[in-house]
């Protein structure tokens, strides 16, 4: 049972951190389909730098990488006003191609030793606290309120003296931090970087965010649901059920089917931030 719980946590924690990255960005009105690319880059950077700079250095570099890519997204969408989806997809392709190429050229080849990884409980603690912290910030701080307001109606916020670009810059910095953490956690769990190792987590995190109605705590619970489904899949995969041998491919579909059903069935009231993608 303990190992099952651990599996749930292992499966959900990276998603959860990534969903918080998505929350910071999308609730401020910046569509962020590039979470996948941000996380992948962070994975690569952490794996590449931790051997030289140590565990903390690796995480710091991963966070910096997350921030740099987020700033690219901010510049493209807020300064040059490029379509948010296009910018996000470009980041995903760039990250996949770029890290794949560098890895093939011999970077980030090492398996991280114990000393080159931060302990997993650190990440789990952050993942546990982050949704509550963000929830509190949204309701009890000036930044949280302005963050919500520019995500709802940037032009009205501007007339109240708020600078939406500035708020979104800060929001995307936060996105960078969380995607950096999500990436380093994934690498810490596997110890090595492999090409496209994020395997669609960016999109699942986005789905969890939508499922949670762009609210941090429900989004975190959605990540746990996905983690649970994945853990169940791992437990049951390969075992006969009802006297039948169910192919493992079917089991692998389970978490995605759960997500899909949840998205289809539980989306009651539309909570999409009204200012998503607007200037």
């Amino acid at each position: 049972m303990n190992s099952f719980l651990l599996q749930v946590v292992t499966m959900s924690a990276p998603l959860l951190l990534l969903a918080m990255a998505g929350y910071a960005s999308e609730r401020s009105g910046v569509i962020n389909i590039g979470l996948e690319g941000k996380m992948l880059t962070a994975c690569f950077v952490c794996a590449a730098f931790a051997p030289q700079f140590g565990a903390i250095g690796g995480v710091v570099m991963a966070i910096l990488a997350g921030i740099v890519i987020s700033m690219l997204h901010w510049t493209l969408t807020q300064v040059y006003r490029i379509d948010h989806i296009v910018s996000g997809m470009a980041i995903n392709l760039l990250a996949s191609g770029g890290t794949g190429f560098l890895e093939a050229s011999g970077f980030a080849k090492n398996t991280l030793t114990e000393a080159q990884r931060l302990p997993l409980w650190f990440y789990y603690a952050v993942a546990l606290l982050a949704p509550f912290l963000l929830f509190w910030a949204a309701n009890h701080t000036r930044f949280g309120l302005q963050h919500k307001s520019v995500g709802s109606d940037p032009s009205k916020a501007r007339l109240l003296g708020i600078n939406p670009q500035r708020i979104r810059l800060l929001a995307l910095t936060l996105t960078g931090v969380f995607s950096g953490l999500a990436g380093s956690l994934l690498v810490s769990e596997t110890s090595t970087f492999t090409k496209d190792m994020t395997a669609g987590r960016g999109y699942i995190a986005l789905a969890a965010l939508i499922l949670g109605g762009w609210r941090p705590i429900p989004a975190a619970l959605s990540c746990l649901l996905f983690g649970l489904a994945t853990a169940v899949q791992i437990q049951l995969s390969g075992k006969p059920m009802f006297g039948m041998q169910i192919p493992s491919e079917i089991w692998k579909m389970l978490p995605y089917i759960v997500t899909l059903l949840a998205l289809a069935g539980l989306l009651g009231r539309n909570r999409t931030p009204a200012g998503l993608g607007k200037h």
């Binding site: 701080t141 000036r142 919500k148 307001s149 709802s152 916020a157 007339l159 003296g161 600078n163």
Partner: protein, 495 residues
């Protein structure tokens, strides 16, 4: 004399349009000052410059005698200037308290208890009441306007700019608003009201400035000028003769509504067992305070909402069981309440907008040919000012969007016109023109229902006035059919 606001020789050009030409505008401290003019006269541009939302090309602004330069609204707010814009600055997704404090929260960490205490105190001082934790999307127009006033107080604004504040309010709420504004002016606030309602100027304001075509025409003490004189200055010539309403026609019934009941958004009974017959050629006005079921009635007639009981038919065609598509084909035309939500798609060109909602009519069988043919005449009907037909409709001013939407509704074989506040954002002569055109279409055999919260407008233009209160329809007795006081009593349910 010292002025709270002094704008000197302000000029601003947008592309080909000279929006403001060397306009000077001075406002005495502690007064309510009206800024009047037709659409496109430059009123909104002038106050946007004062609020830092737009940088003028030329000219200077003095606040309390000191020259200032505003790069954005935050600068203006810093000089204790506050603005209530035409479309309201309230964000529906936030709570009332969050909207109140937004942009002026005081500290990085919000002290909600203290905030709520001060909010309640401010509200009480104005005689308002709010559920601070409720989402602002639940506020009606009058509630929104009150929250806007409190926002100005929260920011301790000394100079308050209100852009068409009564455009969506009932007579009673408008009256209450000006009572509040007078109260604030007596405490020393300087209030600038942009309006096109001449009556408001004379009832409530001390001074008035007239703009026309980007040029300042006149500055008066309100006591030194007559309503007619002011109206002529605004229009730049004679005020259009208003048509005489014709007596109720004896022709055949076209629209017949029978025992109609419709639920509102919150599940309440918004329309109750409503009966109404509209005859050929009739222009029926529905008077009433906002939120008494007018919206739901229209939505049911259009086909946006399904009624829970009752029927309605047009020329014998059972519309309640027909699709909106059929209703439109048979001649239903709409000038919707909220053009942003229901009338236009902001980033569509004028060409595409011409066919919006009417796309299945024969005129648009060939879409690109049809729009090229129809869009210019729709725009022309009420002199919509625009750049090119391929421009986004969002590039038009609010009044011009309304003109285009009205032109669209009245262009193609209209048989039943449903108009919700058709004069919203329009000036005197444009309003007259729109009603004239509705009447012309009616004389050709159509009929129309107009909802307006401005009783005077309905009295001026409609053949027959009915009143909606609490979802029920009342018809005044024939001897008081045009009696303002009697209709007013019905409006508040004291008939």
């Amino acid at each position: 004399m010292s002025f709270a606001v002094s704008m000197q020789n302000i000029s601003k050009r947008f592309g080909m349009v000279q929006a403001l030409d060397n306009v000077s505008f001075e406002v005495q401290a502690g007064t309510i000052h009206a800024l009047v003019g037709e659409n496109g006269a430059g009123k909104t541009t002038l106050i946007r410059a004062l609020y830092g939302a737009m940088m003028p090309d030329d000219g200077s602004i003095l606040i309390g005698g000191k020259t200032v330069k505003f790069r954005n609204s935050a600068d203006a707010i810093g000089h204790r200037i506050g603005m209530v814009s035409q479309h309201y600055g309230i964000i529906g997704e936030l709570t009332n308290l969050e909207n109140l404090v937004l942009g002026s929260e005081g500290s990085a960490i919000l002290n909600k208890v203290a905030m709520q205490a001060r909010a309640t105190e401010l509200a009480t001082s104005m005689g308002f009441e709010f559920d601070w934790d409720a989402e602002s999307s639940t506020l009606g127009p009058a509630g929104g306007q009150k929250l806007e006033i409190l926002k100005l107080l929260w920011r301790d604004s000394q100079i308050m700019i209100l852009d068409e504040p009564t455009a969506m309010l009932s007579p009673q709420d408008s009256e209450a608003l000006f009572v509040s504004l007078k109260q604030l002016a007596e405490k020393g606030a300087t209030v600038i009201v942009v309006t096109h309602r001449v009556a408001e100027v004379f009832q409530h304001c001390k001074r008035v400035t007239v703009l026309r075509g980007g040029i300042k025409i006149a500055d008066h003490n309100v006591d030194d000028v007559t309503p007619n004189q002011l109206a002529e200055e605004i229009v730049g010539g004679a005020v259009m003769e208003r048509p005489q309403p014709v007596s109720s026609s004896k022709s055949s019934v076209r629209l017949k509504i029978d025992q109609l009941s419709v639920r509102g958004e919150k599940g309440d009974m918004a329309v109750r067992n409503l009966n109404l017959e509209v005859k050929m050629g009739q222009l029926v006005g529905i008077a009433g305070v906002d939120g008494n079921g007018q919206r739901e009635l229209f939505h049911a007639l259009i086909g946006v909402t399904r009624p829970i009981s009752g029927t309605f038919s047009f020329d014998g065609s059972q519309w309640d069981s027909e699709s909106s598509r059929t209703r439109i084909t048979e001649g239903l035309r709409i000038i919707p309440e909220d053009r942003h939500e229901e009338g236009i798609i902001e980033d569509w060109s004028l060409l595409d907008s011409a066919a919006l909602g009417l796309q299945r009519l024969p005129a648009f069988k060939n879409l690109s040919k049809g729009t090229k043919k129809q869009a210019p005449s729709m725009a022309e009907m009420f002199d919509t000012k625009f750049g090119r037909l391929s421009d986004e409709i969002a590039s038009l001013s609010g009044g011009n969007q309304q003109r285009f939407v009205a032109g669209r509704a009245l262009s193609l074989d209209a048989q039943l016109i449903l108009a919700f506040q058709p004069a919203r954002g329009l000036d005197l002569n444009s309003t007259t023109k729109v009603y004239n055109e509705i009447r012309r279409v009616c004389q050709a055999g159509a009929c129309a229902i107009v909802v307006s919260f401005d009783l005077d407008e309905l009295l001026d233009f409609c053949d027959r006035i009915v009143v909606m209160a609490h979802g029920e329809l009342y018809e005044p007795q024939t001897e008081v059919a045009r009696d303002r006081a009697a209709i007013g009593r019905l409006m508040v349910g004291a008939g």
